[in-house]
């Protein structure tokens, strides 16, 4: 990347509109406000009469974002979110970015569910740092990104409408698997997940799947012989029997046209009823598998 020089400032306004932003139509000003943190967008009300109500139609919501070290708790954001949603009166949203931290109060989950319900027809992007996860009340949700989250209490992620799902750098439960039920998924990215890897339900529309597995994943075999190992991670008969799976179960990606698997461990070992064995022995190298007829794949990452 080329070195960045000192930040260039835009030239001072000369001629033309005299740098007057008010030459722009309301629809564009509303789009601009959609990029601001929502409290700042609301505060533009005081600029001049024309700005009084523009924020209510801002095309994006951005609440609690930009505080990477200490995200706000649900309780701290409650008043802000409730005011925003009530006063916006359901005007259309192109994107909605919510970042919140701990669930501290008893009512927190129901409040967050209420926010999702109220934004349901408009919501198509949520980035969150939290731990809930039933999105069946958001029939328009298409994009979901979960980053740096503690998902250890989550059992299931449900969304009938979701098309793009990224779960990155998060902690899953150590004793049960998260089931992901999202039949409309087109792209799926699971990266740097700790503990048990999620189990995927059928995703018939999947085009692209990307998995990055590192040492934090507990789905790995430490046995010396991968092919005949019967340790907990490898025992496939057990997985088949109870259907819950104790290996990394990726039956959901069977339709993927494009599967990328990157392992940071030395060896990725794949076997299933159809693809028996594939070795890949290269540090942080990628394995591309295209258009194979996957049925069930177990991925066991061993060191």
């Amino acid at each position: 990347m080329p070195p960045r020089g000192p930040a260039k400032r835009a030239a001072p306004p000369v001629g033309g509109s005299g740098g007057n932003i008010e030459v722009l139509p309301d629809s564009i000003l509303e789009h601009i406000l959609g990029f601001l943190p929502s409290p700042e967008a609301v505060q533009t009300s005081v600029l001049a009469r024309r700005w009084r109500h523009l924020w209510k139609s801002a095309t994006g919501l951005s609440v609690g974002c930009g505080y990477t070290s200490f995200p706000f708790s649900v309780e701290e954001l409650r008043s802000l979110m409730n005011h925003l949603l009530i006063l916006r009166q359901g005007s259309a949203l192109e994107k909605c970015e919510l970042t919140f931290g701990a669930f501290t109060g008893q009512d927190d989950v129901s409040h967050v569910n209420l926010w999702f319900r109220q934004t349901r027809h408009e919501l198509d992007g949520v980035r969150m740092h939290s731990s809930l996860l039933n999105f069946s009340s958001c029939p328009a949700l298409e994009y979901l990104e979960i980053t740096c989250s503690d998902l250890s209490s989550v059992n299931i992620i449900v969304s009938e409408s979701l098309k793009h799902l990224n779960i990155i750098d998060s902690v899953c439960s150590s004793d049960s698997r998260i089931r992901i039920y999202a039949p409309k998924i087109v792209s799926l990215r699971l990266e740097y997940l700790r503990k048990r890897t999620p189990m995927l339900e059928k995703m018939p529309e999947l085009v692209q799947a990307f998995f990055r597995i590192d040492d934090e994943c507990s789905d790995r075999c430490n046995g010396p012989n991968y092919e005949s190992c019967d340790c907990e991670s490898c025992d496939s008969s057990d997985n088949m029997a109870d259907g819950s799976g104790s290996c990394v179960l990726l039956s959901g990606v069977s339709e993927a046209q494009n599967l990328t698997l990157i392992s940071h461990s030395e060896l990725v070992y794949l076997h299933s009823h159809i693809i028996t064995v594939m070795y890949y022995k290269s540090f942080s190298a990628a394995l591309y598998i295209s258009s194979l007829e996957f049925r069930i794949i177990y991925i066991i990452v061993a060191t």
């Binding site: 990347m1 080329p2 930040a7 260039k8 835009a10 030239a11 001072p12 306004p13 000369v14 001629g15 033309g16 509109s17 005299g18 740098g19 007057n20 932003i21 008010e22 030459v23 722009l24 139509p25 564009i28 789009h31 601009i32 406000l33 959609g34 990029f35 601001l36 943190p37 929502s38 409290p39 700042e40 505060q43 533009t44 005081v46 600029l47 001049a48 009469r49 700005w51 009084r52 994006g60 008043s79 802000l80 005011h83 192109e94 994107k95 198509d124 992007g125 994009y143 990104e145 793009h164 990224n166 792209s187 990215r189 990266e191 692209q208 990307f210 494009n258 990328t260 990157i262 990628a286």
Partner: protein
């Protein structure tokens, strides 16, 4: 019959030649001509894509009466730069190319592209992007303007963007009270 056939063939050849051209010529409101990659124009602008598909592109310069030459030059510049910055297929595994978020942060070259513009040029470009249905350019320019507002007091924003405060003191006080929930930083 022979003649007709010949004519038909000639027309066919001309049409093929037109379709084969990989640039289109656009004409600004003040009559200046600009060439832009057809592929990039069709990919980045829903309006130009429609015109190209519908055959309403004029070889001698398609009239864009709503767009001045400075803004059109920036639009064309943006399209051509974009055409040169398509990530290679090899990047498929990198985290960047997989981002399907509703809005991707501007890339380095896009930042530089909007940073050098004066306020007026930026506002003209926003309107041109809006008119041409260039979603990405509209996002990048609006994002730039939002960055110029971010973290500033109302007075500072008014100064930067030349906004005249037409409220009375009493009205302002009333609004502040009404929206106290959003002024929690104060």
């Amino acid at each position: 019959m022979e003649v007709d056939k010949g004519k038909g063939e000639a027309e066919e050849t001309r049409k093929v030649a037109e379709a084969d051209r990989d640039t289109v010529t656009l004409k600004s409101s003040d009559g200046k001509l600009f060439e832009v990659s057809k592929e990039a124009a069709a990919r980045l602008s829903t309006v130009l894509a429609g015109m190209i598909a519908g055959g309403s592109i004029d070889d001698n310069g398609t009239d864009l009466k709503q767009i001045g030459s400075e803004a059109l030059e920036n639009v064309v510049d943006y399209c051509n730069k974009h055409a040169n910055s398509i990530p290679s297929a090899a990047l498929i595994s990198s985290s960047i190319s997989f981002n399907t978020a509703p809005f991707k942060e501007p890339e380095e070259w896009e930042r530089k592209f909007v940073d050098r513009l004066s306020h007026d040029a930026l506002f003209d470009l926003v309107e041109a992007a809006n008119f041409l249905g260039m979603e990405r350019l509209l996002d990048v320019t609006c994002h730039k303007i939002s960055e110029m507002m971010k973290g500033k007091s109302p007075d500072q924003i008014r100064e930067v963007f030349n906004i005249k405060n037409d409220y009375t003191k009493e009205e302002l006080e009333e609004i502040r009270q009404e929206l106290a929930w959003a002024f929690y930083d104060d």
